[in-house]
């Protein structure tokens, strides 16, 4: 096996130091909304109405407030909390949105309209159906005109979003806002995607020296093992080399369910954020494997 890994040049081998400067997350299970307590890094129940009281939305036109999907609302709330924490209202940063299924429930409604008796599609459903709808609404509500990308890759979507964000920082950006989120799926033909709760999380990533540091991205490793033995060899070598703990080993999250029960393609961001207090004594690793092919990603993080 020659150099089987693509690795972000973060860490001691390069001059690039990528820090997590602010975090936020919300999760909706059933009719209960939970939000990340940014000091204690645990999920706490909050009033569901906060999704209608997003600060950005005060300035948003009425048509937008009526049309926002649950994913867009959670996106706005999460970003709002992440930026409030840093007091960086006017900071312009490229935005990377990682979502595996995008606005799949809107697509489900469109399919039903197409194939049902209506045989016509609502224009607002159609404009809401694109993967980047939440970023478009966010830009309008906040007048942000910076570059924006939307990344998808099944249950590794958050990890690939992080890869995209860090590559931008490596290419000279000072800050990147990464948001990862997926809705619970209510469309029958999409059920195999296994998403039974709404989840959205945000990381403010920065190379700047003047922002707070919650944790440091020590590396992102991509690997495509040919078999189980290669996979184990790869995982063990990384763990041994960095004396790391594995984040997914912990089950409890002080929230509505155990970490194993976070049934959402963006679960990786929940595993990262809900373990940051507990595990960040040494380097910690988030090991994620694709559910449709051999791809795997390992994210290494270090305490500040």
């Amino acid at each position: 096996m020659k150099s089987p890994v693509s690795t972000v040049p973060a860490g001691p081998e390069s001059n690039l130091e990528v820090n997590i400067s602010s975090v936020s997350m919300c999760m909706r299970k059933g009719h209960v909304l939970y939000e990340l307590d940014q000091d204690e890094l645990v999920l706490k129940p909050v009033q569901d109405s906060v999704l209608g009281g997003i600060p950005f939305m005060k300035h948003a036109p009425g048509w937008m407030q009526r049309r926002l999907t649950m994913l867009s609302r959670m996106f706005m709330r999460t970003v709002s909390r992440c930026m409030e924490r840093l007091d960086i209202k006017d900071e312009q940063a490229p935005l990377c949105f990682a979502t595996s299924n995008g606005e799949i429930n809107v697509v489900g409604k469109i399919m039903a309209d197409l194939l049902g008796k209506r045989h016509r599609i609502s224009p607002s459903d159609f404009q809401n159906s694109v993967y980047n709808a939440p970023t478009g609404y966010f830009a309008i509500a906040t007048d942000r005109k910076f570059a924006s990308n939307t990344i998808a890759r099944g249950n590794l979507t958050f990890e690939y979003g992080l890869l995209d964000a860090v590559s931008r920082l490596a290419c000279g950006e000072r800050n990147v806002l990464l948001v990862a989120g997926d809705e619970a799926i209510s469309t029958k033909w999409a059920e195999p995607a296994h998403s039974s709760l709404d989840l959205c999380g945000a990381l403010w990533l920065s190379t700047a020296k003047d922002l707070p540091v919650l944790a440091k991205i020590a590396g992102i490793h991509h690997f495509k093992p040919r078999n189980q033995s290669q996979r184990r060899e790869f995982e063990n070598s990384l763990i041994k080399k960095n004396n790391a703990r594995i984040l997914r080993d912990h089950k409890a999250c002080n929230g509505p369910c155990s970490l194993d029960e976070i049934d959402n393609p963006s679960a990786g961001i929940a595993h990262l954020l809900l373990n940051m207090k507990r595990d960040f004594i040494d380097q910690a690793m988030l090991i994620s494997r694709s559910d449709i092919d051999q791809d795997m990603m390992v994210l290494s993080v270090e305490p500040k």
Binding site: I104, Y131, D164, S167, P192, S290
Partner: protein
């Protein structure tokens, strides 16, 4: 020229291929570009869904082997057909780089929608339908990596009509940052009833072949197709072969979900960022392949932005009058059109144009026109959510 050696030592496009209503492969596409006539037709069962001509791919596409049954969609068959015709170049690419250092970055908006529609409308059993490997847009990148043996990172960008523009930008960032040495970048889009009816619901469809920038334009037509670019890091003074990505820029309009900012500010920001990254000025651009969908608002906003940044002397055209709008595939597709025409030293005409909108003070080409083969060209793509990308390409 000032952009010369410095930029040519970075990301080269060493091979490329395209499939669309203009033809299968680069040669047929070139002939269509030289003829400059529309390839849009109403003679197709899906045309009725939007009540207008469309740009379908009529040739039979590569059938996926049984081992890829779960990935079998028209979108993935378009991708497979495009990549199979690059098999020699892919083999050479793998001989130059370790497979784990070759990324796959795709752009699409609808992935397997067409196939889902076919199954549901045909009353077929959805029991063997694998959602995860057909509908989420990320499955397209997974399919290409798996089917063609690329072991590097693979992901999909989905930002509506600028999807494959962002795929090109993402690939450049992966290569520049040292995460990868090369990337297989593609835009793939299959015509789907939902998108045809969706645009119809927005009332932005021209019932006749579209005529971007024309005084009497009524809207757009949709097409389908695939375009693949093999992008590689080229070191030192090696000029590489084919073409190179000189610069790229992106922006958000922050104006409206489907309508462009009439001031053209978002489009201008993306184009200006691309110029700045390339280290060139507007005068260095010999031709601009416009987003030019044919809708009243889109064309007006883009013309305003072009005029402000480039004045009215830079040669411009939209090729959507020939191919229709390939949505998520359009940026990669039109980037390939730019490379094909630049190699032959001409800029394609703006098909469908009869009388230029008098409000537009830009140089729209009404016939294929010679350009300097050594000039830089720009390709614009603007999407829903106000997502704008601009790519600058040169010949190696």
């Amino acid at each position: 020229m000032k952009y010369g050696n410095q930029l040519r030592s970075k990301v080269a496009v060493t091979s490329f291929q395209t499939i669309s209503s203009l033809g299968i492969g680069n040669q047929e596409t070139l002939h269509s570009l030289e003829r400059g006539v529309t390839c849009l037709t109403k003679d197709h069962p899906l045309a009725d869904y939007a009540g207008c001509p469309i740009g379908p791919v009529r040739n039979e596409l590569t059938k996926l082997p049984p081992t890829f049954k779960d990935y079998d969609t028209r979108c993935n068959r378009l991708a497979a057909s495009c990549l199979e015709s690059l098999s020699v170049q892919v083999r050479d690419l793998k001989s130059r780089h370790e497979s784990s250092r070759i990324a796959v970055v795709t752009g699409t908006t609808s992935s397997g929608f067409r196939d889902l529609e076919d199954k549901i409308l045909g009353g077929l059993d959805l029991g063997d339908f694998d959602y995860r490997s057909t509908i989420p847009v990320g499955s397209v990148a997974s399919f290409i990596s798996k089917a063609f043996g690329f072991d590097g990172p693979s992901m999909t960008c989905s930002t509506a009509c600028s999807s494959s523009g962002n795929a090109i930008i993402t690939a450049c960032n992966l290569i520049y940052s040292g995460i990868c040495d090369a990337a297989v970048v593609g835009g793939f889009e299959a015509l789907a009833r939902t998108t045809l009816m969706g645009f119809k619901s927005l009332r932005v469809i021209d019932p006749e072949p579209c005529r971007p920038f024309d005084a009497f334009r009524k809207g757009m037509n949709l097409g389908e197709g695939a375009a693949v670019l093999i992008m590689e890091r080229v070191y030192g003074q090696d000029k590489g072969q084919g073409a190179f990505i000189a610069g790229y820029g992106s922006s958000l309009d922050a104006h409206h979900m489907t309508a462009p900012d009439p001031s053209g500010l978002g489009a201008e920001t993306a184009m200006a960022a691309a110029l700045a990254r390339a280290g060139v000025t507007a005068e260095d651009i010999g031709y601009i392949n416009l987003h030019g969908t044919g809708t009243i608002l889109n064309d007006a906003a883009e013309a305003t932005a072009i005029n402000r940044l480039f004045g009215n002397k830079t040669k411009c055209s939209s090729t959507k009058g020939m191919s229709g709008h390939l949505l998520g595939a359009s940026s990669a597709f039109e980037t390939v059109l730019c490379i094909i025409s630049l190699e032959r030293g001409f800029a394609p005409n703006n098909t469908g144009l009869e009388r230029l909108d008098p409000e537009m003070d830009i140089e729209i080409l009404d016939e294929p026109t010679a350009i300097d083969k050594n000039s830089l060209v720009m390709s614009n793509s603007f999407g829903f959510g106000g997502n704008n990308t601009s790519i600058i390409i040169g010949r190696a």
